[in-house]
């Protein structure tokens, strides 16, 4: 594609934008002055401005800038939409159209001086601001500034992209390499001291790249200040302990060196001159709670509007209960999250009080029961505020299917049920990705071509069934196809080929099916329409796991495959089984629990010196002493003396956890261990129990997988200290 072709696209786009702006303004004049309409006009003008700048149409850019500035104020409500204003905007649009014509060489550049003054006046007057100076012809400082920097950068990048960013040697070379030759800096050289702080690693930033870029500019590292590096056990990987002194030649300007660090701003300490001290180490700030983005109110609202856009797409036979009738109020997400946090604390406080009173023999007081009921009501209401119908995710499916039909040639009928099922907004938002992937997988690998289907006596058109339902405090989402089912022989062969399982491994059908979730496994060379490199199914499982959910497969050769996602209603509260193990109290998520039993001595059989299996209705399940995994003291060690909790895991099948006793089954408010302490393998979080004690919530999947694979449990043993 050459410049003329791109320019032609731009002019076609200008025509579209002009038409869109015109119809938007016409709607305003007719009385439709909602946000969407005004925003569409703004975006049209904004888009013309962007292109005008890129193609160097100075007059067009200058005019759109002023026009856009006024529209921006209109959009933000600083300037009221009045009849005269709309007329002014319509006249400005006519002039803009003339400007576009001039840019195409079809007309003279229009005289816009008077109109520019009017636009500026309208903005200043309505906004009540002093007439702002018109930054009319904003200089387009494209080439001259960027060129000198870009050249060496491009050169360096050629060397650097070759090295793996996580190659320790390369990193050490970067850190120390240039120090081998501490050539005395020429007298005219100047010194730059650099210390990236924790924030420099935020948002995907990588300080090492910046240091490399500095080196490409000709900077030589003459000293690395390691003085602040603490002993290993107190080292926080999130803090910037190292500082570097670079020497730069006099012909390298300070501005060009500082420019490299533009993206990180204050998050990287910079000092110039030989006398300047090395900027001090700044400890990593407390982790920002994930749920409190700084000022996302309008953004979030817009996103919501986008995501929830009316979707009268083919497959929704009955629209969800009309929400339009009720009155609604928009509130900032941060406020809502604060409320939910507070409710979580209330639940804990209520439980603590109940336990304390029970200890004093006062448990049966009527007021306590009322309080408990109210607390539960408040909690449910608070959760329901964040809840949204899953229909917003399902409504995107027809489009995905249409695109898949276009690329694969397979026609698929969609059946949807339970689209009014509600779940947490965050869960909904993060469900899109795994769902898209599963649907694509079902059509790509599950449903056969029309010929194959007819040969097998099935209707030519495949059927994909999506359903959602509430099931005992969790949400069950099913994605079912009526395709060929999983070809277990091929899956197993592939897994052996990839080295995921031993060739002689004895696996059950389910275990083979679940191999498709193993990292590094993908059944066919996935050909995606754009880049050709796809994402594996392991990402789907990871996505679901991050939502506190589980995914299981049920496949029948010849008649189809069903993926079932079990998700929590919310990420803040979970059902758990409180158990005692020696001197520790732990919580096992109820989602994993299948059953609990007290085995007789005869039911438990030894397997080698250190393993035991239990026979549950003819099926042998490995027994895992939980006390060994968490390093608890004084726990019951013989299975027949304690209680076994049979749990279902994603990757490792079933296992029976040996605990001393089950104390309770209750809702627990999940506290992130990452934010309060650090991430610990085998533990998904912590909660505060009624007696004020902290109990760790067991990550059953990773704990069982580790124990069964015979890995050393020593890292997990630090749990005891963590608690």
């Amino acid at each position: 594609m050459n410049a003329e072709e791109i320019q032609a696209i731009f002019f076609a786009e200008c025509e579209e934008s002009l038409a869109a702006a015109e119809s938007g303004l016409a709607a305003c004049k007719a009385g439709t002055q909602d946000d969407d309409t005004v925003n569409a006009v703004f975006r049209a003008v904004h888009s013309i401005k962007g292109g005008a700048g890129a193609f160097g149409y100075v007059a067009l850019q200058a005019f759109t800038h002023t026009f856009e500035t006024l529209l921006s104020d209109v959009r933000e409500g600083a300037v009221a939409v009045t009849e005269p204003l709309v007329d002014l905007l319509l006249r400005a649009l006519d002039t803009l159209s003339d400007h576009v014509g001039a840019a195409r060489g079809l007309a003279e550049v229009p005289d816009d001086v008077g109109l520019l003054a009017e636009l500026t006046a309208a903005q200043a007057a309505n906004a009540g601001a002093a007439p702002a100076p018109v930054p009319a012809a904003e200089p387009a400082p494209a080439a001259p500034v960027a060129a000198p920097v870009a050249a060496p950068v491009a050169a360096s990048a050629d060397d650097d992209t070759g090295s793996d960013p996580f190659d320790l040697d390369a990193m050490l070379d970067d850190i120390t390499g240039a120090m081998d030759t501490p050539a005395p800096a020429p007298a005219s050289a100047w010194l730059l001291k650099v210390r990236p702080h924790a924030g420099a690693m935020r948002n995907g930033g990588e300080p090492l790249l910046l240091l490399r870029e500095l080196t490409a500019l000709g900077a030589r590292c003459i000293e690395c200040d390691c003085g602040a590096v603490p002993p290993l056990d107190t080292l926080d990987p999130g803090t910037g302990y190292l500082g570097w002194t670079f020497s730069l030649d006099a012909d390298v300007s300070e501005a060009s060196a500082r420019d490299i660090f533009e993206f990180v701003g204050d998050d990287c300490g910079l000092d110039v001159g030989s006398d300047a001290p090395m900027p001090a180490v700044r400890p990593a700030p407390a982790p920002v709670p994930v749920a409190a983005p700084a000022a996302p109110a309008p953004v979030a609202a817009a996103a919501e509007a986008g995501g929830m856009a009316p979707a009268p797409a083919a497959a929704a036979p009955a629209p969800p209960a009309p929400p339009a009738l009720g009155q609604s109020i928009r509130i900032e997400l941060g406020k809502l999250d604060k409320l939910i946090d507070a409710v979580g604390e209330l639940v804990i406080a209520q439980a603590m009080m109940a336990q304390r009173l029970a200890g004093d023999g006062l448990a049966v007081k009527e007021e306590l029961t009322i309080l408990e009921g109210l607390t539960r009501d408040i909690q449910e209401s608070a959760m329901s505020i964040r809840a949204q119908p899953i229909g917003s995710v399902f409504s995107r499916v027809p489009r995905i299917l249409r695109e898949l039909t276009a690329t694969t040639g397979k026609h698929v009928r969609l059946e949807v049920s339970g689209e009014s099922t509600e779940l947490d907004k965050t869960v909904i938002e993060r469900l899109g990705e795994p769902l898209t992937h599963l649907i694509r997988n079902a059509v790509d690998h599950g449903i056969e071509s029309a010929e194959t289907r007819i040969a097998a006596g099935k209707p030519a058109e495949g059927t994909l069934t999506l359903s959602a339902e509430h099931r005992s405090g969790r949400i069950l989402i099913r994605i079912a196809d009526d395709g060929a089912g999983i070809n277990r022989e091929r899956v197993f062969a592939k897994a052996v080929e990839k080295g995921l399982v031993a060739p002689d491994a004895q696996l059950s059908k389910e275990e083979i099916d679940h191999l498709i979730f193993a990292p590094g496994f993908s059944t066919a060379a996935q050909i995606t329409n754009v880049s050709g490199r796809g994402v594996g199914m392991d990402v789907v499982r990871q996505n679901v796991k991050e939502l506190g959910g589980r995914i299981t497969i049920d496949s029948e050769p010849g008649s189809g495959t069903t993926f079932t996602l079990t998700l929590p209603l919310t990420l803040a509260i979970s059902d758990g089984m409180v158990v005692n193990v020696g001197d520790q109290t732990l919580v096992v998520p109820l989602a994993n629990v299948v059953e609990s039993l007290r085995p007789t001595e005869a039911e438990v059989q030894g397997l080698g010196a250190h393993r035991a299996m239990i026979n549950v209705r003819g099926k042998f399940i490995p027994v895992l002493p939980l006390h060994a995994a968490v390093g608890a003291q004084g726990a019951i060690e013989q299975a027949h003396e304690g209680v076994l909790i049979v749990v279902e895991t994603e990757g490792a099948g079933r296992a029976a956890l040996l605990v001393d006793a089950i104390c309770d089954q209750r809702q627990v408010v999940i506290k992130s261990l990452d934010t309060h302490y650090r991430s610990v393998e085998g533990v998904s979080g912590a909660t505060i129990l009624g007696d004020g004690m902290v109990a760790l919530i067991v990550d059953v999947d990773s704990l069982v997988a580790r124990s069964l694979s015979g890995q050393s449990l020593s890292p997990v043993q630090s749990l005891a200290e963590a608690a």
Binding site: I6, A12, E13, A150, N203, E262, G265, G307, R533
Partner: protein, 123 residues
Amino acid sequence: MTQATRILTVDDSPSMRALLNHALSTQGFEVAQAEDGLAALDWLALNEVDVVITDINMPRLDGFGLIERLREGTRHRDRPILVLTTESSDEKKARAREAGATGWIVKPFDAAKLVAAVRRVAH
């Protein structure tokens, strides 16, 4: 030979997409394009990427909304994301960083400026 850096550009303007595609693919990058935030999420659900470049003002889901959604999960928490902005004020840049952007490219840009910004953040 290492794999080319894969870039997803998100912009609702066809001419801007054409410009980005031209500038980046001639520099040896592998380029995929989406026309707004939701389309970007759909594409990212199925594909891996090294760097995301996104416009801010877009229909359906805008650039900041997209970044917020990407930063929520672990998969894209450390993904370099650059925003295209017409504003060069410090306030707007701070806003972009606050929203989770790794860096920004001020429009109008030329190919050298664009590539320099990508190289600065590409892991």
